[in-house]
């Protein structure tokens, strides 16, 4: 077995980079990492589907940030932050093949998986999500820098409090 050396914080970008706005979470995750790479021990992970995989992607880290496209009915480009306790699901954090994140998280706990103490979820409202393409719609493209700033601020604050 290979030893896995993991850092303190993981930022998980969810979605499909080939499905227009569905790639927003992945783009934000990479942009956040780019800004913080020299300042903190940060791992970036891309995930297409949630459920148990999402719980597994957090295993071994102290802190986790999940960024995903969202289809809540809000205006495209709206950015929302969710606490795990209030979290239901964003577009890809649920898996049709297993379960929602809350159940997966409890499963991990039950199985003795080391899960992060701090977790936050960020949703970016998508407009185009069922069309193959590698470009964001203008509303979503315009919202990305703001989402990156807010997540950078949160991670900086978490790091300061550590």
């Amino acid at each position: 077995m290979r030893a896995v050396v993991k850092g303190k914080t993981v930022i998980i970008g969810m979605g499909n980079p080939l499905l227009s706005d569905d790639g927003a979470g992945i783009a934000v995750a990479h942009a956040v990492a780019e800004r913080l790479r020299l300042r903190m021990d940060l791992t970036v992970t891309e995930l297409h589907t949630g459920g148990i995989r999402l719980m597994e992607a957090m295993a071994g880290f102290k802190r986790a940030v999940v960024v995903d496209a969202m289809l809540s009915g809000a205006a495209p480009g709206t950015v929302q932050r969710f606490e795990p306790s209030a979290f239901v699901t964003t577009k890809n954090t649920f898996s049709s093949h297993d379960t929602d994140f809350a159940t997966a998280y409890d499963l991990g706990r039950m199985a003795g998986v080391a899960l992060p103490e701090q977790v936050s979820f960020w949703g970016i409202e998508a407009r185009e999500f069922d069309l193959f393409g590698e470009r964001f719609t203008p509303e979503v493209a315009a919202a990305l820098p703001g989402a990156v700033d807010r997540i950078v601020a949160e991670l900086t604050e978490w790091e300061g409090g550590a």
């Binding site: 589907t49 093949h97 039950m110 999500f129 069922d130 193959f132 393409g133």
Partner: protein, 498 residues
């Protein structure tokens, strides 16, 4: 005149798929369809790209089965470039695929299919999940499931070159060989998989087969559809997930046809209906007779159960013993020395999936012990003189036969792309099972939760994955069923919040 009942997810989160149930004037279910919008623009997205990109593009289509798409795409490229993979390359591909099958089938059983039986079909959704299974079977099972996924994901990661989205498939082979240490890890993983598969079958026996209520449910005519069965078989006509001929049996268990995957268009046609943009695949040489079963209807099924129905026993010993036990439990007669009459009771698909889990584990061990498996000869370099410009790649995805078909120009630039994804094969049978559930329940006085559960069970046994084609995710989706009379008046509304 018919009335339409619509079952709509209450939020857009799970997409905009819905189930339509049509009642006639007598208040009986006339028909049930599910309608799901497909992702748009895939062919346009691919045309004009270099064909070699396809294994890494198509494995992004679906978060549930990237390995299946990666291999179907790689096999299609073997055809495009006229490069027959080396023998060890095929085996390495198959090892990756067995590791994937083990994780996929175990996850389905413990998280999706199993809870209906282990916790009970009418238990509240908050308990009818993997956590409820662990409470009932023992908390260790949660750790076992996580450990099983972890050890197989490690194999997929080093063999595939990347976690989650493999990149190692290339036309004519595989881009890396394995060393002796990696081979040992694969062997150890396979041995543990076999133990876990046997443990899982033992749970199934103890909790499901020894419970008369469940055996009655599994053997009842709820979700009984006598369709044709499809699956991929090797040279001995035994189930193989990675490669072989497509074998189709009629509802009585006679071989209807056996063909090379490349000939799929001679055998499979797609029915287009005006009320949905889903296309229903059916057997061209039987014909489309609507959403109905029997010898005259070209509807076929491509699931773990149908794969076993077309197989002359299983190619590995432990799985073969379980295969025999399953058919004998259903009182099936032997048709050949190794094969039985087909089982059409759809709930038996859950059992068949566990037989396949054991087979995949044993097959992984066989491949790990193959003397040439550490050979460095993992690639046939494509020769421009052998370039073909068209390729069809096919594998058995956990949820049905998956076919990729590419055409290119002389430079290898894609000019057309076509796919039949696993779940698509089963659109017609899934609709039939929904209808059956609706007929039994919709006009009864059953509680809302029971109706919602039973309609979900109709989906779930097919292990459908619509990520490939759509955003409709029928796991525990928020669900609303509106029951209307023939005048369109609302009789009853049932709702689950997810």
């Amino acid at each position: 005149m018919t009335t339409r009942i619509t079952i709509d997810p209450v939020t857009r989160l799970e997409g905009h798929g819905r189930i339509d149930i049509f009642l006639n004037d007598q208040g009986r279910v006339e028909n049930a369809y599910f309608q799901i919008p497909e992702l748009r623009g895939f062919e346009q997205f691919c045309v004009g790209r270099a064909a070699e990109e396809m294994p890494v593009i198509t494995n992004r289509i679906c978060g549930v089965c990237p390995e299946a798409h990666h291999l179907a795409a790689t096999k299609a490229l073997d055809g495009v470039f006229g490069a027959e993979p080396t023998s060890v390359a095929k085996k390495l591909r198959e090892i990756l695929y067995m590791a994937f099958f083990v994780t996929d089938h175990t996850t389905h059983f413990y998280a999706l299919g199993g809870p209906d039986f282990i916790v009970g079909p009418d238990a509240p959704p908050s308990e009818r999940n993997i956590l409820g299974v662990a409470r009932k079977v023992g908390l260790d099972v949660a750790g076992e499931l996580i450990a099983c996924r972890k050890r197989n994901h490690e194999i997929i990661t080093f063999l595939g070159g990347k976690s989650i989205h493999p990149v190692a498939g290339v036309p004519g082979g595989w881009s890396r060989a394995i060393n002796a240490e990696e081979r040992s890890q694969i062997e150890a993983t396979a041995r543990r998989n076999i133990e876990f598969a046997r443990f899982t079958l033992a749970i199934f026996e103890k909790i499901v087969l020894k419970n008369p209520v469940y055996t009655e449910m599994v053997t009842s005519d709820t979700y009984l559809h006598r369709t044709y069965s499809m699956g991929t078989v090797d040279a001995n006509n035994q189930t193989n997930f990675y490669d072989g001929r497509i074998r189709v049996m009629d509802p009585l268990g006679n071989e209807f046809v056996s063909y090379q995957p490349a000939a799929y268009r001679e055998h499979i046609a797609e029915r287009v209906e005006s009320w949905t943009y889903l296309k229903y695949p059916y057997l061209k040489n039987v014909g489309w007779k609507g959403l109905t079963d029997g010898m005259e209807s070209g509807i076929y099924t491509a699931t773990p159960l149908s794969r076993l129905n077309v197989s002359e026993g299983m190619a590995t010993p432990l799985a073969n013993a379980e295969y025999q036990r399953m058919y004998e439990a259903f009182g099936c007669r032997k048709i050949t020395a190794a094969r039985y009459e087909p089982i059409h009771h759809r709930l038996a698909t859950h059992w068949a999936r566990l037989v396949e889990l054991l087979y995949a584990s044993e097959r992984m061990l066989e491949l790990a012990l193959d003397p040439e498996i550490t050979s460095p000869e993992t690639r046939t370099i494509p020769d421009p003189a052998r370039f073909v410009g068209e390729g069809i790649g096919s594998v058995e995805a956990p949820r049905g036969t998956l076919t990729h078909h590419y055409c290119t120009d002389q430079r290898g630039v894609l000019t057309s792309v076509n796919m039949i994804v696993g779940t698509t094969n089963n659109y017609a049978p899934i609709s039939m099972s929904i209808k059956r559930a609706a007929e039994r329940l919709i006009t009864s006085n059953a509680p809302d939760e029971t109706i919602l559960n039973r309609i979900e069970m109709a989906f779930r046994l097919y292990d459908p994955c619509f990520s490939c084609a759509t955003h409709f995710l029928p796991g525990k989706m928020p669900l609303t069923i509106s029951l209307r009379d023939s005048q369109g008046g609302l009789l009853r509304e049932m709702r689950r919040k997810g």
